[in-house]
Symmetry: none
Subunit: 202 residues, 4 copies
Amino acid sequence: MSRTAASRAGGAGPPTDGPRDRQAILAATLDALGEHGYARMTVEGVATRAGVHKATLYRWWASKGSLVGWALGAGLSTGPVADTGSTRDDLVTWLRGTIDNYTSTPAESALPALLSDLASEPGTLEGFRRSFLDARRANCAATVTRGIERGDIPADVDVGLVMDVLAGTVFYRQLVSGEPMDAALAERLVDLVLTGQIPRVA
Amino acid sequence: MSRTAASRAGGAGPPTDGPRDRQAILAATLDALGEHGYARMTVEGVATRAGVHKATLYRWWASKGSLVGWALGAGLSTGPVADTGSTRDDLVTWLRGTIDNYTSTPAESALPALLSDLASEPGTLEGFRRSFLDARRANCAATVTRGIERGDIPADVDVGLVMDVLAGTVFYRQLVSGEPMDAALAERLVDLVLTGQIPRVA
Amino acid sequence: MSRTAASRAGGAGPPTDGPRDRQAILAATLDALGEHGYARMTVEGVATRAGVHKATLYRWWASKGSLVGWALGAGLSTGPVADTGSTRDDLVTWLRGTIDNYTSTPAESALPALLSDLASEPGTLEGFRRSFLDARRANCAATVTRGIERGDIPADVDVGLVMDVLAGTVFYRQLVSGEPMDAALAERLVDLVLTGQIPRVA
Amino acid sequence: MSRTAASRAGGAGPPTDGPRDRQAILAATLDALGEHGYARMTVEGVATRAGVHKATLYRWWASKGSLVGWALGAGLSTGPVADTGSTRDDLVTWLRGTIDNYTSTPAESALPALLSDLASEPGTLEGFRRSFLDARRANCAATVTRGIERGDIPADVDVGLVMDVLAGTVFYRQLVSGEPMDAALAERLVDLVLTGQIPRVA
DNA sequence: ATTTAAACGAGACGGTACGTCGCGTCTTTGT
DNA sequence: ACAAAGACGCGACGTACCGTCTCGTTTAAAT
C-alpha cells in the first residue's frame, strides 16, 4: 500500500527506490555468492557483511532468491559492444563477455540454484529474466542488426535462437557437461553460426 | 556397516545393491520432482509416497541430491538411436529425445538445482555426470560416428562441442531464456551444425 | 528537548502536556486493547487508528506499557461513591464499579500483561499503581471511613486488606479461575467482610 | 496425524509422552522464568540451558506460553493438605502453600504475562487452568469438606468462592496492589471466611 | 506579518525473538 | 542384516513488533 510495497511488487527486479546502503548490499551479496555459493550463503551473512540488518534486506527483497537475482543483474558487466566494423569480431567480443559472466565466481554455480529457487516464485523468475538477460540480449541483438545492415547476416535470421546457441552452449558446458572452456571457444561458436563451419577438434 | 558404507562411498552413482522397494522409490522420487520441483520436494515426502521410511533412503543414498541424481539417471529414456541411414534424421531423433528429457516435468527445472546441490559434494557431481550424461552422449557420439563413416561429417569434428551446442541450446532455452520450444527446433539445430545453415525465423 | 523529556520522566503517569490528539489516542488505545488484547495490539495500530504517527506516541509515552497504563487510568470510570447512608450499599456500589472495570473488554486481560511489561521498567510500575489504583482505592477508603464514623465498621479495620479481598477476588475470578461472575457477587463479598457471613451457594 | 500431534492437541497440558529430557527442560524453564521473567526469557535460552535444541521444544509445545504453562503446572508444589483435625489449621496450611506459589520467583510475575499470552490461544488457557489450578483447588475443597463434616463450616458453603477469596486476595496483593505479604496474612484471611472476623490492623 | 521552536508525518532502520521447515543422524524395536 | 518409527540436532528461513532515528513540513506562539 505504501511505496515500498509497490516497488517490491515487481519481484526480482531492482526496487525503484532502494535501501540506503545499496552499494554495500550489492557487494556483500556478490561476495557471499562467490565465497559460499547460492545454497550455502545466508541472508544474515550478507546483512552482516553489508553492515545492515537482515530485516532491512527483507524489507526490500521478497526472498533470498530475489536478492541474489537483483545482485546478479546489477553486478555483472553489461556494457554494449563497440562497433569495430567486423560483425564476427563484435559477436566474439559479446560472447566472451557472456563467458566471463558465466564463469566468474559469483554467477558460476549461482544461477542454477537461483533459477530453481525462483521457479517457486513465478513472477520473480520473469522479473529476473527481464533485469538480467534483457540488457545482455539487447546488446547482442544490436550487433546482429549491424551485421544484417552490412550484409554479413541474412535479414530473416532468428536472432533469439542464435543467442540461445551462443550463450546456451557456454552455459551448458559450464554447468552440465563440465567440459573445459578453452580460449578459442568464442570464435568457434561465432564461426559456426556465421559461416556454418562445423567445429573441429583443435 | 561394511557393505552399506562401501556401497554409499561412490556418491551419486547407483548403489551396488539397492533397497527392496527400488521401483517404488524411483517412481516416488520422479513424481515428487515433477510435482514440486527439486527445492520444494522433500525426502520425507518421497519416503512416504514410496511406502518406505526416510532412514531407508539415507541408508542407500548419501543425500537428497544423490537420490534425485540416481532417479533421473535411472528414470529418463536413454535408448540408443536407431540407424535409419540418414545422419540428419538420426541426429534429429536424438535431439528430440533430449528435448523431451529437458521439458518433461521431472527433470525440467530439477537439473539446475540438483547440479548446484551436488556441487557441494565434490565427487558426487562427477559421479552424476558419468551416470546421467555419459549414456546419452555416447548415443549421440555413435550417431555422429556413423555420419563420419558415411562421409556426412568431417572426421575431425569436435563431437563434444557439437553435443554441447545441441543439448546446451535446448537446456538454456528451457531454463534461462524461457523462449518457447517450437516443434522445428531439433531440425534447425541439426541443420545448423551439419550444413551450416543459419537459423531463420519461421 | 527540554520539556518533552521532563514530561516523560515520570513514566506511566499522564504527560503534563500531551499530544494534540489526546482524545483520539485514548480511544484508539482502548479500542485496540479491547479488540486484540494487550499482547497482540500494536503501537503502530493504535497510531493509525488515532490518525497519528507512531513517533508521536513515543514522543509522549516511553513505551507501549506506559501508553496503555495511561489509557486505562484515563479511560476507566473512577467517580467517587455517593453517600446513601448505608455503608453496605455504598460498598456494593463501589465493588460493582470495580467489577465493571475488570470485566469490560479493554481492561479485562490487559492488566496482567501490562503489569508484567511494566515490571521491567521499575519506576513505571509504581507510577501506574499510583495513577490507576490510588483513585479507586481512595474512593473505597472514603466509604469505609464513613462506615467507621457510623459505627458500622470497627475503627481499627485493615482497610487495605479489605480492599484487596474485595477487588482481588473479582480480579482472580476473572483472570485466573475463570469462574462466572454472577450478579450477586458484589453483595456476597461485601456481606462477608462486613458481617462475616460465609458465602453460600445460590 | 501422528501421536505427537495428538498429544499436543490438549494445549498447555502436559504431553502424554514427552521429550526425552523432560526433567532438564522443566528445570531450565523454571530457572529462566525466575531469572528473567516471562517476557524476557527466551525459548532458545531454555533450550540451550536444557541441552536441547529449540526445535525440540516446539515439537512438544505449541508455543512459549504452553511451555511455561506446563512448567508451572509440573513444577510447583501441589501436595494434599494433611488432616490435623483443625479445619482452621488445615486451611491456613493450604493458603500458605498458595502464597508460596505466588510469591516464589518463577511464578511471581510469570503468571500475568502468561495468562495474557494464553488468552490468544483459547484452548490452551483452559488447559492451563485444568493442569495448574485444579489440583490445588481440589486440595482446598477436600479440606473444606472435612470442615463441613466436622460441623465447622455450613454444608451449603460456596467452596469456589471461598477459594477465590483466599487465593485471589493473595494473588491481587502480589501483583496489583503490591502491598506487603505479612506473615499473619494466611490466618487473617482464613479467620475472615471461617468466623467472619473482619481483618484489623496489626 | 513574520519569525522561530516545538510538534508532527513519513518511513527506513536496528534489534530481539518468534515460530517453521527440511536435511541428515541416531536409537529403539521388531522381523 | 535390514527396515519401520520417530525423536533429535542443526542451521537457516522469513516474520513481527518494538523503539530509534533522520528529514521535511505544519502549527502556533512570540516578536
